[in-house]
Protein backbone atom coordinates (compact mmCIF):
# COMPACT_ATOMS: atom_id res chain seq x y z
CA UNK A 1 0.00 0.00 0.00
CA UNK A 2 1.56 3.14 -1.20
CA UNK A 3 1.47 6.94 -1.01
CA UNK A 4 0.57 8.25 -4.48
CA UNK A 5 0.03 11.94 -3.85
CA UNK A 6 -0.68 14.57 -1.21
CA UNK A 7 -2.71 17.78 -1.41
CA UNK A 8 -2.79 20.51 1.21
CA UNK A 9 -5.11 23.37 2.10
CA UNK A 10 -4.51 26.36 4.36
CA UNK A 11 -7.17 28.80 5.51
CA UNK A 12 -7.22 32.16 3.69
CA UNK A 13 -7.07 34.14 6.92
CA UNK A 14 -3.42 34.73 7.91
CA UNK A 15 -2.18 36.12 11.18
CA UNK A 16 1.25 37.64 11.72
CA UNK A 17 3.34 37.58 14.86
CA UNK A 18 2.47 41.16 15.66
CA UNK A 19 -1.16 40.17 16.08
CA UNK A 20 -0.33 37.10 18.16
CA UNK A 21 2.02 39.15 20.35
CA UNK A 22 -0.73 41.72 20.88
CA UNK A 23 -3.27 39.06 21.85
CA UNK A 24 -0.94 37.22 24.21
CA UNK A 25 1.42 39.93 25.44
CA UNK A 26 4.15 37.82 23.83
CA UNK A 27 7.43 38.53 22.09
CA UNK A 28 7.35 38.79 18.26
CA UNK A 29 11.06 38.08 17.82
CA UNK A 30 10.90 35.06 20.08
CA UNK A 31 8.04 33.57 18.05
CA UNK A 32 9.92 34.11 14.80
CA UNK A 33 13.44 33.16 15.85
CA UNK A 34 12.93 30.47 18.49
CA UNK A 35 9.57 28.90 17.71
CA UNK A 36 10.21 29.36 13.99
CA UNK A 37 6.87 30.83 12.93
CA UNK A 38 6.44 34.06 10.96
CA UNK A 39 2.76 33.71 10.21
CA UNK A 40 0.05 31.12 10.42
CA UNK A 41 -3.43 30.60 9.01
CA UNK A 42 -6.54 30.25 11.16
CA UNK A 43 -10.03 29.25 10.11
CA UNK A 44 -12.55 32.07 10.29
CA UNK A 45 -15.32 31.85 12.84
CA UNK A 46 -17.79 30.66 10.19
CA UNK A 47 -15.42 28.04 8.71
CA UNK A 48 -15.05 24.49 9.98
CA UNK A 49 -12.60 21.64 9.58
CA UNK A 50 -15.00 20.17 7.01
CA UNK A 51 -14.56 23.22 4.75
CA UNK A 52 -10.77 22.95 4.91
CA UNK A 53 -10.70 19.16 4.56
CA UNK A 54 -12.99 19.47 1.55
CA UNK A 55 -10.58 21.93 -0.07
CA UNK A 56 -7.66 19.53 0.45
CA UNK A 57 -9.64 16.60 -1.00
CA UNK A 58 -10.86 18.57 -4.02
CA UNK A 59 -7.26 19.57 -4.72
CA UNK A 60 -6.26 15.92 -4.50
CA UNK A 61 -8.88 14.99 -7.10
CA UNK A 62 -7.70 17.87 -9.34
CA UNK A 63 -4.13 16.61 -9.06
CA UNK A 64 -5.19 13.02 -9.77
CA UNK A 65 -7.48 13.03 -12.80
CA UNK A 66 -7.17 9.26 -13.05
CA UNK A 67 -8.85 8.84 -9.68
CA UNK A 68 -12.63 8.50 -9.82
CA UNK A 69 -14.59 9.24 -6.68
CA UNK A 70 -16.37 5.90 -6.74
CA UNK A 71 -12.98 4.16 -6.63
CA UNK A 72 -12.32 5.32 -3.08
CA UNK A 73 -12.87 2.35 -0.81
CA UNK A 74 -11.61 3.92 2.40
CA UNK A 75 -11.70 7.42 3.88
CA UNK A 76 -9.94 8.12 7.18
CA UNK A 77 -10.04 11.51 8.88
CA UNK A 78 -7.45 12.23 11.56
CA UNK A 79 -8.74 14.89 13.95
CA UNK A 80 -9.37 15.73 17.58
CA UNK A 81 -11.38 18.80 16.59
CA UNK A 82 -14.18 17.24 14.56
CA UNK A 83 -16.99 19.15 12.90
CA UNK A 84 -19.49 17.66 15.35
CA UNK A 85 -19.38 15.55 18.48
CA UNK A 86 -21.62 13.12 16.58
CA UNK A 87 -21.30 11.96 13.80
CA UNK A 88 -17.73 11.32 12.71
CA UNK A 89 -16.34 13.92 10.33
CA UNK A 90 -15.46 11.33 7.68
CA UNK A 91 -19.19 10.64 7.20
CA UNK A 92 -19.86 14.34 6.54
CA UNK A 93 -16.91 14.45 4.18
CA UNK A 94 -17.98 11.28 2.35
CA UNK A 95 -21.31 12.90 1.52
CA UNK A 96 -19.87 16.28 0.51
CA UNK A 97 -17.25 14.62 -1.70
CA UNK A 98 -19.95 12.40 -3.24
CA UNK A 99 -18.00 9.24 -2.55
CA UNK A 100 -19.65 5.86 -2.89
CA UNK A 101 -21.88 4.74 0.00
CA UNK A 102 -19.71 1.62 0.04
CA UNK A 103 -16.73 3.66 1.21
CA UNK A 104 -15.46 2.64 4.65
CA UNK A 105 -15.32 5.86 6.69
CA UNK A 106 -14.03 6.48 10.18
CA UNK A 107 -12.11 9.06 12.19
CA UNK A 108 -8.91 8.53 14.10
CA UNK A 109 -8.80 10.47 17.34
CA UNK A 110 -5.09 11.25 17.57
CA UNK A 111 -3.03 14.43 17.53
CA UNK A 112 0.50 14.86 16.24
CA UNK A 113 1.18 11.13 15.84
CA UNK A 114 -2.10 10.67 13.93
CA UNK A 115 -0.81 10.74 10.36
CA UNK A 116 1.80 8.06 10.99
CA UNK A 117 -0.80 5.86 12.69
CA UNK A 118 -3.35 6.48 9.93
CA UNK A 119 -0.96 5.31 7.20
CA UNK A 120 -0.46 2.00 8.98
CA UNK A 121 -4.16 1.59 9.74
CA UNK A 122 -5.04 2.31 6.10
CA UNK A 123 -2.32 -0.03 4.89
CA UNK A 124 -3.60 -2.88 7.08
CA UNK A 125 -7.26 -2.37 6.11
CA UNK A 126 -6.46 -2.07 2.42
CA UNK A 127 -4.55 -5.34 2.57
CA UNK A 128 -7.20 -7.15 4.62
CA UNK A 129 -10.19 -5.95 2.58
CA UNK A 130 -8.49 -5.70 -0.82
CA UNK A 131 -9.18 -1.97 -1.10
CA UNK A 132 -7.49 -0.41 -4.13
CA UNK A 133 -7.76 3.30 -3.34
CA UNK A 134 -7.92 5.18 -0.04
CA UNK A 135 -7.71 8.77 1.17
CA UNK A 136 -6.29 9.85 4.53
CA UNK A 137 -7.30 13.34 5.61
CA UNK A 138 -5.69 15.30 8.44
CA UNK A 139 -7.26 18.43 9.88
CA UNK A 140 -7.00 19.55 13.48
CA UNK A 141 -7.80 23.26 13.73
CA UNK A 142 -6.46 24.32 17.13
CA UNK A 143 -7.71 27.87 16.50
CA UNK A 144 -11.08 26.48 17.55
CA UNK A 145 -9.86 25.39 20.98
CA UNK A 146 -7.09 27.86 21.88
CA UNK A 147 -7.56 30.68 24.34
CA UNK A 148 -6.88 33.99 22.58
CA UNK A 149 -4.56 35.17 25.36
CA UNK A 150 -2.62 31.90 25.68
CA UNK A 151 0.92 32.58 24.47
CA UNK A 152 2.02 28.96 24.89
CA UNK A 153 -0.44 27.71 22.25
CA UNK A 154 -1.31 30.73 20.07
CA UNK A 155 2.35 31.36 19.26
CA UNK A 156 2.89 27.78 18.12
CA UNK A 157 -0.15 26.33 16.36
CA UNK A 158 -1.76 26.97 12.97
CA UNK A 159 -4.63 25.39 11.04
CA UNK A 160 -4.21 23.21 7.94
CA UNK A 161 -5.69 20.21 6.17
CA UNK A 162 -4.07 17.55 4.03
CA UNK A 163 -5.37 14.72 1.87
CA UNK A 164 -3.16 11.74 1.00
CA UNK A 165 -3.97 9.30 -1.79
CA UNK A 166 -3.00 5.71 -1.05
CA UNK A 167 -3.04 3.09 -3.81
CA UNK A 168 -2.62 -0.64 -3.64
CA UNK A 169 -0.84 -0.79 -6.98
CA UNK A 170 1.87 1.87 -6.96
CA UNK A 171 3.47 4.81 -5.17
CA UNK A 172 5.80 5.33 -2.23
CA UNK A 173 5.95 2.23 -0.07
CA UNK A 174 4.94 2.42 3.59
CA UNK A 175 7.18 0.47 5.95
CA UNK A 176 6.61 -1.02 9.40
CA UNK A 177 5.66 1.31 12.22
CA UNK A 178 7.03 1.67 15.73
CA UNK A 179 4.58 3.33 18.09
CA UNK A 180 3.74 3.82 21.72
CA UNK A 181 1.78 5.73 24.34
CA UNK A 182 2.54 7.12 27.78
CA UNK A 183 -0.87 8.06 29.16
CA UNK A 184 0.69 9.14 32.46
CA UNK A 185 1.55 12.38 30.69
CA UNK A 186 -1.87 12.87 29.06
CA UNK A 187 -2.66 15.92 31.21
CA UNK A 188 0.31 17.82 29.77
CA UNK A 189 -1.56 18.52 26.52
CA UNK A 190 -5.25 18.61 27.16
CA UNK A 191 -8.58 20.35 26.67
CA UNK A 192 -10.35 19.27 29.85
CA UNK A 193 -13.99 20.15 29.27
CA UNK A 194 -16.50 18.97 26.69
CA UNK A 195 -16.04 15.21 27.18
CA UNK A 196 -18.04 12.97 29.50
CA UNK A 197 -16.00 14.04 32.55
CA UNK A 198 -17.16 17.65 32.14
CA UNK A 199 -19.91 17.52 29.51
CA UNK A 200 -21.61 20.50 27.95
CA UNK A 201 -24.95 18.97 28.79
CA UNK A 202 -26.67 15.65 29.52
CA UNK A 203 -29.21 14.06 31.85
CA UNK A 204 -27.24 14.79 34.99
CA UNK A 205 -25.66 18.03 33.89
CA UNK A 206 -28.54 19.98 32.32
CA UNK A 207 -28.70 22.50 35.14
CA UNK A 208 -25.08 22.47 36.08
CA UNK A 209 -23.04 25.62 35.75
CA UNK A 210 -20.79 25.60 32.72
CA UNK A 211 -17.17 24.60 33.20
CA UNK A 212 -14.58 27.34 33.43
CA UNK A 213 -13.96 28.69 29.94
CA UNK A 214 -10.25 27.87 30.20
CA UNK A 215 -11.13 24.21 30.65
CA UNK A 216 -12.52 24.16 27.11
CA UNK A 217 -9.22 25.50 25.79
CA UNK A 218 -6.25 23.33 24.96
CA UNK A 219 -3.51 23.72 27.54
CA UNK A 220 0.05 22.67 26.99
CA UNK A 221 2.94 22.10 29.39
CA UNK A 222 5.77 22.87 26.98
CA UNK A 223 8.52 21.52 29.23
CA UNK A 224 6.80 18.19 29.75
CA UNK A 225 6.21 17.81 26.00
CA UNK A 226 9.84 18.65 25.31
CA UNK A 227 11.11 16.12 27.85
CA UNK A 228 8.74 13.49 26.50
CA UNK A 229 9.96 14.07 22.96
CA UNK A 230 13.64 13.97 23.89
CA UNK A 231 13.08 10.73 25.76
CA UNK A 232 10.80 8.84 23.36
CA UNK A 233 11.68 9.94 19.84
CA UNK A 234 15.30 8.74 19.63
CA UNK A 235 14.38 5.27 20.90
CA UNK A 236 11.36 5.06 18.58
CA UNK A 237 13.53 6.03 15.61
CA UNK A 238 16.02 3.34 16.54
CA UNK A 239 13.28 0.70 16.96
CA UNK A 240 11.68 1.65 13.63
CA UNK A 241 14.98 1.47 11.78
CA UNK A 242 15.64 -1.94 13.27
CA UNK A 243 12.13 -3.12 12.37
CA UNK A 244 12.71 -2.09 8.75
CA UNK A 245 16.26 -3.44 8.52
CA UNK A 246 17.79 0.02 8.11
CA UNK A 247 20.34 2.21 9.86
CA UNK A 248 20.48 5.99 10.37
CA UNK A 249 22.82 6.30 7.38
CA UNK A 250 20.18 4.82 5.06
CA UNK A 251 17.76 7.67 5.73
CA UNK A 252 17.76 10.59 3.31
CA UNK A 253 15.31 12.75 5.24
CA UNK A 254 13.97 12.73 8.78
CA UNK A 255 10.49 14.26 8.64
CA UNK A 256 9.78 14.99 12.28
CA UNK A 257 6.49 16.49 13.37
CA UNK A 258 7.03 20.26 13.16
CA UNK A 259 6.43 21.04 16.81
CA UNK A 260 8.72 24.08 16.97
CA UNK A 261 12.05 24.99 15.42
CA UNK A 262 13.82 25.02 18.77
CA UNK A 263 12.49 21.62 19.68
CA UNK A 264 13.50 19.97 16.42
CA UNK A 265 16.96 21.57 16.48
CA UNK A 266 17.55 20.16 19.95
CA UNK A 267 16.29 16.75 18.92
CA UNK A 268 18.49 16.82 15.81
CA UNK A 269 21.56 17.76 17.88
CA UNK A 270 20.84 15.10 20.47
CA UNK A 271 20.60 12.46 17.75
CA UNK A 272 23.66 13.82 15.90
CA UNK A 273 21.71 14.13 12.66
CA UNK A 274 22.99 16.39 9.86
CA UNK A 275 20.86 19.56 9.53
CA UNK A 276 20.32 19.06 5.78
CA UNK A 277 18.58 15.76 6.53
CA UNK A 278 16.21 17.24 9.09
CA UNK A 279 13.99 19.82 7.38
CA UNK A 280 12.29 22.48 9.45
CA UNK A 281 9.49 24.19 7.54
CA UNK A 282 6.91 25.85 9.68
CA UNK A 283 7.52 29.57 9.20
CA UNK A 284 4.30 30.04 7.24
CA UNK A 285 2.15 27.39 8.87
CA UNK A 286 3.08 27.00 12.52
CA UNK A 287 2.61 23.63 14.17
CA UNK A 288 -0.30 22.09 12.26
CA UNK A 289 -0.61 18.98 14.49
CA UNK A 290 -1.27 15.85 12.37
CA UNK A 291 -0.91 17.85 9.14
CA UNK A 292 2.72 18.88 9.66
CA UNK A 293 4.31 15.67 8.32
CA UNK A 294 2.17 15.38 5.15
CA UNK A 295 2.76 19.09 4.47
CA UNK A 296 6.53 18.49 4.63
CA UNK A 297 6.31 15.44 2.37
CA UNK A 298 4.07 17.35 -0.05
CA UNK A 299 6.55 20.25 -0.27
CA UNK A 300 9.45 17.90 -0.91
CA UNK A 301 7.51 15.93 -3.52
CA UNK A 302 6.60 19.20 -5.25
CA UNK A 303 10.25 20.24 -5.31
CA UNK A 304 11.21 16.95 -6.92
CA UNK A 305 13.37 15.97 -3.98
CA UNK A 306 11.87 12.57 -3.28
CA UNK A 307 13.12 10.43 -6.15
CA UNK A 308 14.73 7.26 -4.79
CA UNK A 309 14.67 8.56 -1.26
CA UNK A 310 14.14 6.73 2.01
CA UNK A 311 12.39 8.93 4.54
CA UNK A 312 11.65 8.48 8.18
CA UNK A 313 8.48 10.08 9.50
CA UNK A 314 7.90 10.55 13.22
CA UNK A 315 4.91 12.12 14.97
CA UNK A 316 4.67 12.77 18.70
CA UNK A 317 2.42 14.72 21.04
CA UNK A 318 -1.11 14.46 22.48
CA UNK A 319 -1.57 11.32 24.55
CA UNK A 320 1.32 11.32 25.05
CA UNK A 321 1.64 9.31 21.87
CA UNK A 322 4.33 8.69 19.30
CA UNK A 323 4.70 6.82 16.04
CA UNK A 324 7.55 6.37 13.57
CA UNK A 325 7.63 4.79 10.12
CA UNK A 326 9.68 4.62 6.94
CA UNK A 327 8.50 5.68 3.49
CA UNK A 328 10.36 4.48 0.38
CA UNK A 329 9.85 7.09 -2.32
CA UNK A 330 9.84 7.06 -6.11
CA UNK A 331 11.99 5.50 -8.82
CA UNK A 332 13.45 2.21 -7.70
CA UNK A 333 11.12 2.06 -4.67
CA UNK A 334 7.97 2.57 -6.73
CA UNK A 335 7.43 -1.12 -7.24
CA UNK A 336 4.08 -1.56 -8.95
CA UNK A 337 2.10 -4.36 -7.38
CA UNK A 338 4.39 -4.74 -4.38
CA UNK A 339 3.16 -5.37 -0.86
Amino acid sequence: MNIRDIAIALPAQRLDNKTIARWTDGDEDFIKNKIGVESRAFLREDESMIDLSLQACEKLFEQNRDLARDQIGLLIVVTQNPAYKIPHSSAILQNKLELSVNTACFDINLGCSGYVYALSVARALMLAEKIEEAVVVTCDPYSKIMGKADYETCSVFGDAATATRLSASRGAVIGRMDCGTDGAGAHHLMAKAGGSVTPHTGIWHANQAAAEQDDYHVQMNGRAIFNFMMKRVPSSVEACLQENGLSLDNIDYFFFHQASRYLIENLRDKMNLPPDKVPIEMENTGNTVSSSIPILIHNFMLSGLMQNKICLICGFGVGLSWATNIIFFGGKYDTAGSN
Binding site: G185, N221, G222, R223, M230
Partner: protein, 91 residues
Amino acid sequence: MTQQEAINSITLALRKVLKRDGFEISIDTDLSDKKILDSLDRIVFLMELSELTGKEFSEDVDLVKIGLFKVANLADYLTGARDINQFFPNV
Protein backbone atom coordinates in the same frame (compact mmCIF):
# COMPACT_ATOMS: atom_id res chain seq x y z
CA MET B 1 27.21 17.89 46.24
CA THR B 2 28.57 21.13 47.68
CA GLN B 3 27.21 24.55 46.81
CA GLN B 4 30.29 25.26 44.69
CA GLU B 5 29.83 21.99 42.78
CA ALA B 6 26.19 22.91 42.22
CA ILE B 7 27.18 26.33 40.86
CA ASN B 8 29.77 24.68 38.61
CA SER B 9 27.06 22.41 37.21
CA ILE B 10 24.73 25.37 36.69
CA THR B 11 27.49 27.21 34.81
CA LEU B 12 28.24 24.18 32.66
CA ALA B 13 24.57 23.66 31.81
CA LEU B 14 24.24 27.35 30.94
CA ARG B 15 27.24 27.14 28.64
CA LYS B 16 25.70 24.14 26.86
CA VAL B 17 22.36 25.86 26.36
CA LEU B 18 23.62 29.31 25.41
CA LYS B 19 26.51 27.85 23.37
CA ARG B 20 28.78 30.67 24.56
CA ASP B 21 30.80 31.98 27.50
CA GLY B 22 30.72 35.52 28.72
CA PHE B 23 27.67 35.42 30.95
CA GLU B 24 28.13 36.34 34.56
CA ILE B 25 26.20 34.74 37.35
CA SER B 26 26.37 35.03 41.09
CA ILE B 27 24.46 33.39 43.89
CA ASP B 28 21.92 36.23 43.66
CA THR B 29 21.32 36.01 39.91
CA ASP B 30 17.84 35.06 38.76
CA LEU B 31 18.34 33.36 35.38
CA SER B 32 14.75 34.02 34.40
CA ASP B 33 14.31 37.60 35.65
CA LYS B 34 17.66 38.66 34.19
CA LYS B 35 16.56 37.16 30.85
CA ILE B 36 19.66 35.00 30.67
CA LEU B 37 17.33 32.14 29.80
CA ASP B 38 14.08 32.51 27.85
CA SER B 39 11.24 30.06 28.27
CA LEU B 40 12.60 27.56 25.73
CA ASP B 41 16.17 27.81 26.99
CA ARG B 42 14.94 27.10 30.51
CA ILE B 43 13.53 23.78 29.34
CA VAL B 44 16.82 22.64 27.80
CA PHE B 45 18.80 24.07 30.70
CA LEU B 46 16.88 21.90 33.17
CA MET B 47 17.36 18.87 30.96
CA GLU B 48 21.11 19.48 30.80
CA LEU B 49 21.27 20.11 34.53
CA SER B 50 19.34 16.94 35.17
CA GLU B 51 21.81 14.97 33.05
CA LEU B 52 24.77 16.55 34.83
CA THR B 53 23.52 16.10 38.39
CA GLY B 54 20.99 13.27 38.26
CA LYS B 55 18.39 15.51 39.92
CA GLU B 56 14.85 15.49 38.52
CA PHE B 57 12.72 18.61 38.14
CA SER B 58 8.99 18.21 38.59
CA GLU B 59 6.98 18.82 35.41
CA ASP B 60 3.85 19.65 37.37
CA VAL B 61 5.25 22.69 39.20
CA ASP B 62 5.74 26.17 37.73
CA LEU B 63 9.43 26.45 38.52
CA VAL B 64 9.63 30.12 37.54
CA LYS B 65 6.81 30.94 39.91
CA ILE B 66 8.53 29.26 42.87
CA GLY B 67 11.80 31.07 42.12
CA LEU B 68 13.84 28.01 41.23
CA PHE B 69 15.79 29.91 38.57
CA LYS B 70 17.46 32.03 41.21
CA VAL B 71 20.96 30.54 41.44
CA ALA B 72 20.85 30.37 45.26
CA ASN B 73 17.59 28.43 45.18
CA LEU B 74 18.74 26.16 42.40
CA ALA B 75 21.95 25.39 44.30
CA ASP B 76 19.89 24.63 47.41
CA TYR B 77 17.80 22.17 45.43
CA LEU B 78 20.80 20.53 43.79
CA THR B 79 22.68 20.11 47.07
CA GLY B 80 19.57 18.72 48.74
CA ALA B 81 19.39 21.59 51.23
CA ARG B 82 15.79 22.20 50.16
CA ASP B 83 13.15 20.14 48.34
CA ILE B 84 10.79 21.52 45.66
CA ASN B 85 7.89 21.82 48.09
CA GLN B 86 10.01 24.04 50.34
CA PHE B 87 10.06 26.80 47.76
CA PHE B 88 7.33 29.39 47.67
CA PRO B 89 5.82 31.44 44.86
CA ASN B 90 7.61 34.70 44.08
CA VAL B 91 4.82 37.11 44.82
